[in-house]
């Protein structure tokens, strides 16, 4: 019979495993993946722990992949220069289960903002090199993930188009009012 301590450790490991799998399932680019495929993604991700005040990534650094927050809080901060003065704007505050930087899986474009941990934060990173590796090693799984990224991009493009047309409408109305 296994000792209670060992059972406890195994239980803890299992629950951590489940937490990771659950977090992966909740990310939009890993939608519609089977349990086996989720396990495959789990094997490809890197677990990192950041202290309060650590940056996960910094603005303008080359994008290399995405992060899923397992525990903790992350602020997305954008630095701007107004004249010679540097200002910082908090764009979002992300918590456990949220994810960031998924479009960096496609190219090395510089990060548009920095990700700062405001408390002890545990993350899971999934990177472009591993996605390309997955396309070679598990083509079906790789294609599913790339298709999901394309869907996310499509959704965002539609929202951007909608916002743009709304803005144009407003602009037209404003012009008409002036006339």
């Amino acid at each position: 019979m296994a000792s209670p301590l060992w059972t406890q450790i195994r239980k803890k490991e299992k629950s951590h495993d489940e937490l990771i799998k659950e977090a992966i399932k909740n990310v939009n680019i890993f939608r519609n993946l089977s349990d086996k495929e989720i396990s495959e993604v789990k094997n490809a991700v890197y677990n990192r722990t950041y202290k309060k005040g650590d940056y996960i990534f910094k603005q303008d650094h080359p994008g290399n992949g995405m992060y899923i927050i397992l525990t903790g809080t992350v602020q997305i901060i954008q630095e701007k220069f107004i004249g010679e003065e540097k200002t910082e704007e908090i764009l979002a505050t992300l918590h456990s289960g949220d994810f960031l930087g998924e479009l960096s899986l496609l190219d090395e474009a510089p990060r548009s903002a920095s990700a700062l941990c405001t408390e002890l934060t545990e993350t899971m990173g999934f990177f472009r090199g591993d996605l390309l590796d997955m396309v070679n090693r598990k083509p079906v799984l790789g294609s599913k993930i790339i298709l999901n990224i394309a869907r996310v991009l499509g959704e965002r493009l539609r929202i951007t188009n909608q916002m743009l047309s709304e803005l144009q409408e407003k602009e037209k109305e404003k012009n008409n009012e002036h006339e």
Partner: protein, 358 residues
């Protein structure tokens, strides 16, 4: 600089000097193991895409790796079973002519006489046959020792070969775990940069080594085809064409010296078999190797090996000397690929690291 920073700097400097000195002291003792690990890394980088391909057919990673290692063993066994009888035959033929009234040196001598009679000047030195005889006599005296050394070398090579296969197997099977293990040591601050650079280096190296092996194979195959054509149409009597082709392919890994070293066995074979028109055949054989080099340098290597890994001739010269000093002929063969790997790694670090500066 404050006092504590000064102290920290001195401690770091002492630590660096002690570690470097220790490393330099231990290095000669670790030379063999380091060489075997470097060869395993080269093998891993070369074979990884093939294992990935096998895995893409839904074969588990461990089974794909085992299959790849078995394929390699099978290919080597097949090659050895084909090549050993050829080497044996060649050795027998040489030793026969070697023991029976110096036929070997006589043949070379008459071949050289023939070439000299056709050339306007005594282009090839006339005391060459005596020198060959002297060399053969020395060889005859040293043969038992050489054979014992060869036996010992063979055992070492075999154990080294299995060590390399063993390490390569684990590199291939546990690639991801090893990469994760290495990256775990990197602090968060440099994590993304290190991962990015590691990925890029691995991809570039894989392409470079595959290109090199394809280029060597192409040189081997085209040499065999060329020599076969010369043999068929000019009744040249060149023996062991396949063996010469394989040698030419391997020799091609050594820049500058390789192409010449590849052609020498073929020319010797012509001189030994003394076909009619020896001069013409020798010229044709040289022509075949020049044409093979032209094909390789113009059409094959630039596309397969890539310009980014091109090394300056001076660097090539230096690394060849270092490789030759460390491991002889094998060292010269591995010198350029290893230098290429270092260049790719250095290039990726220099290009990518500044992008991560704040």
């Amino acid at each position: 600089m404050s006092m504590s920073e000064n102290q920290r700097f001195i401690i770091r400097l002492i630590l660096f000097i002690v570690l470097t000195a220790g490393f330099i002291l231990i290095l000669p003792k670790l030379q063999t193991i380091i060489t075997l690990i470097v060869i395993s890394i080269l093998m891993f980088t070369l074979l990884d895409p093939f294992v990935d391909k096998l895995e893409s057919f839904n074969i588990p990673r461990a089974v794909s790796t085992l299959l790849m290692i078995l394929i390699i063993l099978l290919l080597i066994a097949l090659g050895v079973s084909r090549i050993v009888p050829l080497v044996e035959n060649a050795a027998q033929q040489i030793s026969q002519s070697f023991s029976s009234d110096n036929t070997f040196s006589n043949k070379i001598e008459s071949g050289i006489d023939y070439l000299n009679s056709k050339l306007p000047l005594n282009a090839i030195t006339t005391d060459l046959p005596e020198k060959i005889n002297e060399l053969l006599n020395t060889l005859r005296q040293k043969l038992p020792g050489v054979l014992m050394g060869f036996g010992r070398g063979l055992i070492n090579a075999l154990s080294g070969f299995f060590f390399v296969l063993f390490i390569t197997f684990f590199f291939l099977k546990d690639e991801r775990a090893i990469k994760k293990g290495i990256i775990r040591l990197v602090p968060n601050k440099h994590f993304e940069m290190s991962l990015n650079i590691m990925d890029k280096i691995q991809r570039q190296l894989s392409a470079y080594l595959q290109g090199l092996s394809l280029a060597a194979t192409s040189v081997g195959v085209t040499s065999i085809i060329g020599l076969f054509i010369v043999n068929t149409f000019f009744d040249a009597g060149i023996n062991y064409i396949v063996l010469i082709g394989i040698w030419a392919g391997f020799a091609n890994l050594i820049p500058y010296i390789g192409p010449t070293a590849g052609a020498i066995p073929a020319i010797l074979s012509v001189l030994m078999s003394q076909p009619p028109n020896t001069m013409l055949i020798v010229v044709l054989v040289i022509g075949v190797f020049v044409f093979v080099q032209f094909l390789d340098n113009t059409f094959v290597s630039p596309y397969l090996v890539g310009k980014s890994v091109e090394l300056h001739p001076l660097i090539v010269f230096i690394v060849l000397i270092i490789g030759g000093n460390l491991m002889g002929l094998l060292g010269m063969m591995f010198a350029v690929p290893v230098a290429g790997i270092i260049k790719v790694a250095f290039h990726e670090i220099v290009t990518n690291a500044p992008k991560y500066r704040s």
